[in-house]
Symmetry: C2
Subunit: 132 residues, 2 copies
């Protein structure tokens, strides 16, 4: 399993974080993943770089402003790169970084879970709503 060397006062940044400590930056990282669109955007980029509009279509239902926000946040976190080509009409490509690639596995796990257990959740909801 995972052996933790020294957690202590979480002052040094090379240690493992503790997601249950509100003061730990891990919380911010979790917030990013806990963003509605992050999972879908990162998942969409698994096959290689995409342009803005391609991403918009791939994700489906995301407003341009929100997509921009999501992409900027992901870029800031070092999960993807934004490359602007000096062309007209403009071309901008988004591509996962190495760090972003490592996120692919856990995100795929979440997506798989959602897709596999969707029906059970839907049933549970129907049952719950009926009881009220």
């Amino acid at each position: 399993m995972v052996t933790i060397t020294a957690r202590g006062t979480s002052a040094h940044s090379n240690e493992r974080g503790d997601a249950y400590d509100p003061k730990c930056p891990t919380r911010h990282v979790l917030d990013r993943i806990g963003d509605k669109w992050t999972v879908l955007v990162v998942g969409s980029l698994r096959g290689g770089p995409l342009r803005f509009t391609q991403l918009r279509l791939a994700v489906g239902g995301v407003a341009p402003k929100v997509l921009t926000q999501t992409l900027r946040a992901l870029e800031r976190d070092g999960l993807l790169t934004r490359t602007v080509f000096a062309e007209v009409p403009p071309r901008v490509e988004y591509e996962l970084t190495e760090l972003g690639q490592t996120l692919q596995t856990p995100i795929a796990a979440i997506r798989d879970w959602a897709e596999l257990h969707m029906s059970q959740v839907v049933e549970a909801r129907a049952r719950y709503d009926d009881e009220i």
Copy 2:
């Protein structure tokens, strides 16, 4: 096992959902997981049932109203059970269902990723903010 008869719009693409289709209920399931507190709440319950206040402390920094909302949503989705004991002072216990337990693995993967890569993300953010 799980067999879904018909899925409406998208050509019945077997029993598995498609998270990239905005009309697929998978999206709602993803939204639940993509909730800021879900990951922490479900993770807190991995060791067994907890009471409301215990959960509040375990998660850390969650407002009671928001915790209630989160718990109700998780209950509705069949991921946990809410047991009220007719005592004074009141006692309410929250416990993961079997379905909720299956969510433990992917959530642990996310949490592990966040805790392991936290420092890289923090560094990337600092770099990004400096460049501006």
